[in-house]
Amino acid sequence: MEPLTRQVTEPDQLIELASTINNTGGRFIMAYLRYSENIPEVVYLVDQGSNLAFTELVLRNHTRLPSLSEVAPLLNWYEREIMDLSEIEFEGNPEPFPLVLLEGMSLSIGPFNPSQTQVPELFGTPTQPKLPEVIEDQVQDLFWGPVRGDILESGEFHFAYIGEQILHYTPRLFYKHRGIESGLTGSSLTKGLVLAERVSGVGSVSHAVAYCAAIENAFQLEIPTRAQLIRIILSELERIYNNFHFFANLCKTTTLKVGEAFGALLEEEAKQINCKITGNRLLRNVLAVGGLRRDLAVEELSTLLPPLRRKAEDYLEALSDTQSHLDRLIGTGILSQNLAFEFGATGPVASASAIARDLRVNHPYSGYQNIQIDVTTRSSGDALARAEVRKSALFNAFTIIEQALSLIQPGPTKLDNIPVPPGTVDGLGWSEGPRGSCFYAIRIRDGLLERVKIKSASFSNWKVFPLTVHSTNMMDYAINEASFGLTIAGADR
């Protein structure tokens, strides 16, 4: 299968084309800016449907484009990010204010423009954000963050509320924006991988798999079967420990303290297994372009994992038999199927709102086509649905590892002597992580990274999350947020 096709189009045809894509089973994934020989190109990545090649919709050399926020609301944040980082404007974007660069901060020059010889610099300090005006009696404003209680990532959240009732909620992310995409320009492929593993620590494997796949697709490499299967196993180990964390955190918000402790202990046991197999509790430092850096004794998992699975079964059975816990999840943070689709929900958040999409099934990579994967969906779209989908993903991960172990044979795990094609090559790579889809669109020139676009699962789900908070209760907020299982580092980059 060809991973990527390209279609060049013009601004006056864009909206019509976008509607056609939406009406014929296609779906926008992301939009980003890149330069080809000093000419700016806005690229829309489109999923045409299961097992079909992804399509790049390219608009060359335009500084004003019509906004697609109406046709595909999920593109709103991508447009704002492009506006923040370049001179390009999207006419009709309903929220034309800063996103990635906080209000009060500005860049000296656009960071991706290769004709600039200066190094881009970031100025200023964050100031009060632009917020929607809420006209109502006795409305109170609560700014929460960027430093919050507990051991949490930095982000600022604004609530406009009356009593217990939240009228409007605005997450202000990107306090952790590290400019990784622009910083990678000119880096070696090795350094790129080190950074990809550190975009989101708890998504190290999904990012590394997508990064390596993008380069392998660009170089047209087929990696050895054993390396493919070990990548599958590592991806599922990541799913296991992240989902234990998810349940521990969910119990914490429903104040089920013992349940939280059990979940945290299972997460710890999963991380210790990770360490035994790979030498790293977050499963880092194993993948390489062309396979793996070294072979792993994954066969040992057939004795390490079954006891963990039995404990997981016991734990989750006990949780589903705890009315006080379930009562807090039922009907909390409802996301409709329609909104989930339009605003680009991914992973368990989408599955819980009756969208059966999983890159492992719809666009199999790394040999997932030989594995039986169960994509559980729920239609209620509430916190309970998200928890049930996660539970099923957790047990499915154990089953997938069993399948992979039954298929695995001794053999090479790395391609020797990878030839680097001269000139410019493009590659797209993807993976389905514990939180949903992760995409890397990479352009390589003479063996060095020229442009890396990273789409993490949380960037998509943070766009959706506020829709489930408006007009709900303060006391449900923490439960709702935990049920989304978001990370900030992945979204901020």
Partner: protein, 269 residues
């Protein structure tokens, strides 16, 4: 309906007694940690590790006789192991060492010429009562969330940080220690300084994770960070990407002088 209290009691004790004594299981069996460096094995004209290191943790300030002048800065090392795989003579080897916290930035640097300054400015500041009870305020100043994941793990039943009298506190007003993770991006400088200012005296700072020491590997680009050092008086430096929960615990105990520092002039003892 489950009785979680009984279920919890029936599950028994999950907590390790590490670090008392410190040879007990600490949850990192077969860990691949920082490189162990033996310069005597270097080949004369070889600089393979310097060329490949993605964060310039390995460097030299000489143009000739490079091999005998390689410097390894653990404050920039993200234990990615690439140098170990690249080294042709096994001068760099894998180690499971993890108790890397140090009170002096220079103790993280291994070079042929020791650079340690004599001052150990922490010693006089620690008062007796911090040894029994220490309250920590964590702040994320631009991390990858790996450190948050491992730091949060210190409170799970296996490590159970509370047994050591160390607690996380939501408010800087109640905090004795500010534990900084992340590279300190420009957007977070203000919140970082305001959090520190809100803490009562005496107060301490731990830079947790390699990027909070030097910014590496996020020390490039327009939102680059150079760690906490330029903004706060750091008392303990803890390299690691991320440091394991046991490493975090070691750093907290080192701050309160309940364990001995293992790293001297970049040499792990």
């Amino acid at each position: 309906m489950r009785n979680w209290t009984l279920k919890g009691i029936a599950a028994g004790k999950a907590t390790t007694d590490w670090p008392y004594p410190d040879d007990l299981d600490n949850g990192q069996e077969r860990m691949r940690g920082f490189p162990k460096f033996d310069p005597s094995r270097c080949e004369t004209s070889c600089q393979a590790c310097i060329d490949i290191c993605p964060t310039a943790a390995l460097s030299t300030n000489r143009s000739e006789d490079i091999a005998s002048n390689v410097q390894l800065d653990f404050g920039k090392c993200i234990n990615c192991q690439i140098c170990i795989e690249t080294c042709p003579t096994d001068a760099l080897q894998n180690s499971a060492d993890f108790m890397f916290a140090a009170k002096n930035r220079n103790d993280l640097i291994r070079s042929q010429q020791p650079v340690t300054e004599a001052a150990d400015r922490l010693r006089s500041k620690i008062e007796k009562h911090f040894k029994g009870s220490l309250h920590v305020r964590h702040i994320d100043a631009g991390s990858c969330n790996g450190c948050e994941s491992e730091l949060a793990a210190t409170t799970n039943p296996y490590y159970n940080l509370h047994r050591l009298g160390i607690f996380f506190t939501p408010s800087p007003r109640f905090a004795d220690v500010l534990l900084v993770t992340g590279t300190v991006v420009p957007q977070m400088i203000g919140p970082l300084q305001r959090t520190y200012q809100a803490m009562p005296n005496p107060k301490f700072v731990i830079a947790g994770g390699t990027c909070s020491i030097s910014g590496a590997p996020f020390d490039f680009g327009y939102a680059a960070g150079n760690g906490a050092d330029p903004f706060l008086p750091v008392d303990v430096y803890l390299p690691g990407c991320p440091p394991s929960p046991a490493s975090f615990i070691f750093a907290l105990l080192l701050l309160t002088e309940r364990v001995e520092q293992k790293l001297k002039d970049g040499n792990y003892e």
